[in-house]
């Protein structure tokens, strides 16, 4: 009996292994064949258009044509927290947008639009009066009033993880149940953008006072309620049928944590998930070829650069900085590192914001790079430096940069791999020469304050830019409330930064998503936000 069993078992094992290998090879071939079109695509091209109209209203409560009313989303990262004031993680921001509202939200064109705020008045440069929507209910059934808004905005100011979004709110006063007045500490053009951030989401004041554990039971006014958080695995949400803007059409949303990129792609192909948040760029062409799947790739605000420590030689020499910025083939960087899913950036600030220009910024021109280098008076043998790369994508970016600089200027650079925590530490304290990095923000003011203002040195100003003129212009952007005037100041700041060239801009990374056909109302704004309550299922 055993002999018979063994006789059967061994060939069966070998056969199944061989079949498995062939299955894998087949798919691998498919992948490599379909990778070619992706590489020939123009960087930053849109591969799918959204049918989202951009309004804030929901898809409605009507039954979807397909009868499906659930959505399973695959994401790479699990949020450390769902408590709005205790994290500044992108993964958590996506979830907070489902369960909470702020007074404002970031629209598709990145402008702040009223959410829980009905209307507002700018009484003076420092006084803002906000009239709240009436009849808005929290998930626990209580009505939102001005005292909840005051308590929530003050909570943001006290929370280290999000306090930077509470700096602009100044003093908050309750005028009546549905009116609050904010007196800012000087004019604050970024106030409305800050009010869009999840750190300023509105929570019930009585629960804040009682020390409620919002991580276990997040109570907000959002279109979905969190019903289960299976740590390390998934988060489950159900529709808030009493949502003030109409109940969402999709009644159940599950976020599955799938850290491995290939597994996310295969889960979508197998129909196990409906939407992928972080699409592996190497899988994009394969997904585009799949008739059941729509791939979405549009320019985002994620600005990526080689940051350079301006306090250290040779980066304290402006001609050297401009020489380096001129000799890097950024299209090659995008192809090698992102498989084409990005767009070249020469400007020191993300090009998608009004007023930002590339005037005065070095662009790819090897001859010009040689001229700048000659003007710097430096010797190539003395200019070698190390570039920190804290993940595989950054390492690929570094390899292209290494080759470009060697070919154009004859300078040897070394690539240094480092884990994220160490990278964050050494770059914040200025104990480095160069590193591949990036910054994502839905607000230009937050971006320039974080990346270039001297107050952010030892924090997120990693180039350690310390220029009084730049600081003054950033402060002017902050205090100029008139939108047209503000754009003019941004324009002036953008040109000044481009001239100074404190770092080497590389690319704006696309927001890449993929979802099953039939999902309607899907959109991602440049800042990466998606509003799931606007979606519904239709026929394929």
């Amino acid at each position: 009996m055993t002999k018979k069993l063994m006789r059967g078992l061994v060939p069966a094992l070998v056969l199944s292994l061989a079949v498995g290998l062939f299955a894998g090879c087949g798919s691998s071939n498919d992948n490599s064949q379909s990778a070619a079109p992706a590489q020939s695509e123009a960087a930053g091209s849109t591969t799918a258009s959204s049918d989202n109209s951009g309004n804030s209203g929901n898809a409605g409560t009507s039954t979807a044509a397909s009868g499906k009313d659930s959505l399973i989303i695959a994401t790479a990262n699990e949020t450390p927290s769902v408590t709005t004031n205790l994290h500044n993680a992108v993964a958590g921001d996506y979830l907070n947008n489902m369960t909470h509202n702020g007074l404002f939200y970031t629209s598709d064109d990145l402008s702040p639009q009223p959410a829980l705020c009905e209307s507002y008045e700018i009484v003076s440069d420092t006084e803002w009066v906000f009239h709240l929507k009436q009849g808005v209910k929290f998930h626990n059934g209580t009505e939102m009033t001005a005292k909840d808004v005051k308590a929530s905005l003050e909570l943001c100011k006290e929370s280290p993880q999000v306090q930077q979004y509470g700096n602009s709110t100044g003093t908050i006063e309750v005028v009546d149940d549905y009116t609050i007045k904010i007196t800012t500490d000087g004019p604050q053009s970024g106030l409305l953008s800050d009010l869009c951030h999840h750190g300023n989401a509105i929570l019930p004041a009585d629960l804040i006072e009682s020390g409620h554990d919002f991580n276990k039971e997040p109570i907000g006014t959002g279109p979905y309620k969190l019903v289960a958080w299976n740590k390390g695995e998934s988060l489950e949400f159900e529709a808030n049928e009493d949502y003030w803007d109409g109940a969402p059409a999709i009644k159940k949303v599950v976020w599955k944590v799938i850290p491995e990129g290939s597994s996310r792609t295969m889960a979508l192909e197998a129909g196990e998930v409906d939407l992928i948040i972080e699409v592996e760029t190497t899988d994009l062409a394969r997904l585009q070829d799949n008739p059941d799947i729509t791939a979405f790739s549009e320019a985002g605000t994620s600005h990526n650069w080689m940051m350079i420590n301006n306090e250290k030689a040779p980066f304290d020499n402006i001609d050297f900085r401009r020489a380096i910025a001129s000799c890097i083939d950024k299209n090659a960087v995008i192809q090698v590192a992102l498989n084409g899913t990005g767009s070249v950036s020469d400007s020191m600030t993300p090009d998608c914001f009004p007023g930002v220009v590339a005037d005065g910024a070095p662009s790819y021109d090897v001859e010009k790079a040689k001229e700048y280098f000659a003007a710097s008076g430096l010797n190539p043998a003395d200019c070698g430096f190390a570039v920190i790369c804290s993940d595989d994508t950054k390492l690929r970016v570094g390899q292209v940069i290494q080759s470009c600089i060697k070919d154009a200027l004859g300078i040897d650079i070394t690539l240094e791999s480092m884990d994220l925590a160490t990278y964050l530490d050494v770059t914040a304290t200025g104990d480095y020469q160069a590193a591949i990095g990036g910054y994502t923000s839905s607000s230009l003011l937050a971006y320039v304050q974080g990346v270039y203002h001297s107050i952010s040195i030892n924090g997120s100003n990693k180039t350690r830019t310390n220029d009084p003129n730049i600081d003054a212009l950033i402060d002017k952007v902050q205090t100029t409330l008139d939108p047209e005037e503000n754009v003019k100041v941004v324009n002036e700041l953008s040109k000044a930064l481009n001239e100074l060239c404190p770092q080497v801009p590389l690319y704006l990374r696309n927001n890449v998503r993929a979802y099953r056909n039939g999902l309607q109302g899907f959109n991602v704004n440049a800042g990466g936000s998606t509003y799931y309550e606007r979606m519904s299922w239709g026929s394929n």
């Binding site: 292994l17 500044n88 306090q163 390390g232 925590a421 530490d425």
Partner: protein
């Protein structure tokens, strides 16, 4: 026997003390400020300082270690810097998943390895031997994430039999990760079984029972296998231990919500209490598994049992 178990359990104390001190020391040396990593780049210096004070990060090394150990003996694994939740809660939420995966993978590994090893030994230098050893060579050579992806492609994407990711479909969710992990560990068990069996079946007592005319099946299963199992059991015990902590890749490929993945995330985020909690649990599990393996020796070979005092 009970005295032996108690002695071994008491011996765990210095082991755990040593492991905890070593890991605490290494994590302390690692670059990167846990407070800055936890609060983010934009946190103000006074907030970073307040966090350091609250978490005791300003205290000297031995004070922090003593505080940690004091909490540990009371069952408190500390508070995660990242989630601000108790580490014990985070670890216990994931440990059963890892334990289930490790156990089912071990079962898969044993079910595959023992027949392969035995056949390879009794059919030494035949085609069966070659195939058996080839399969085990493939198992030991093929990276588990590659094996995992192949299994997903075939059984999830092409055939649709099993889910690609997660642990939410019960046994169906468990099949592919268990097979991927078990197949890898099968290789060393099969090779150990083969060499151990080869040595055993050449012993004089096997020749004697064969001369007495006992059927081959009985010779192998009743007389040879039992003696050959001692080294195999050692290897299996070590494999279970390594599966508890070393299944990170399998957990990532199959999105299995286990403790290995949690530990890697904690290391990346310099979440020292979480890393410590995971390692203490691994060390404890490993030591207990070794104790169980030692006890199993006694059941396999009564001569060893006689030494348990």
């Amino acid at each position: 026997m009970i005295k032996f178990i108690i002695k071994r359990l008491v011996a765990l104390i210095p082991v755990l003390l040593g492991v905890s001190l070593l890991v605490f020391f290494i994590l302390d040396l690692a670059p990167g400020d846990p407070a800055k990593t936890a609060l983010g780049e934009q946190a103000r210096p006074e907030e970073i300082e307040a966090f350091r004070e609250e978490m005791g990060l300003n205290n000297p090394f031995f004070v922090r270690y003593a505080d940690y150990m004091l909490g540990l003996v009371q069952g408190d694994l500390g508070t995660s810097y990242k989630t601000l939740d108790p580490v014990g809660q985070e670890v216990w939420a994931r440990l059963p998943n890892t334990a289930v995966l490790a156990l089912t993978s071990t079962v898969v590994a044993i079910l595959l390895a023992l027949p392969l090893g035995i056949i390879a030994a009794i059919k030494q230098n035949t085609l069966f031997d070659g195939i058996s050893m080839f399969v085990s060579l493939v198992g030991i050579s093929m990276p588990v994430f590659w094996m995992g992806l192949l299994l997903i492609l075939m059984f999830s994407v092409k055939l649709g039999w099993f889910p690609v990711a997660g642990a939410d479909q019960g046994i169906k969710s468990l099949v592919l990760p268990s097979f991927a992990l078990g197949f890898m560990h099968m290789a060393s068990i099969a090779r150990t079984t083969r060499s151990s069996m080869l040595e055993t079946i050449r012993q004089d007592y096997i020749r004697t029972v064969r001369a007495k005319g006992l059927p081959e099946k009985e010779i192998i299963l009743r007389h040879a296998l039992r003696n050959a199992l001692i080294p195999t059991t050692t290897v299996i015990g070590l494999q279970i231990g390594s599966m508890l902590g070393g299944s990170v890749l399998t957990e990532s490929v199959f999105s299995w919500p286990g403790i290995g993945r949690y530990m890697i995330q904690s290391i990346q985020g310099r979440d020292i209490p979480s890393v410590m909690g995971c390692i203490i649990i691994f060390a404890l599990s490993f030591a207990i598994i070794n104790l169980i393996v030692d006890l199993i020796y006694g059941f396999i070979d009564p001569r060893i049992k006689a030494q348990y005092k």
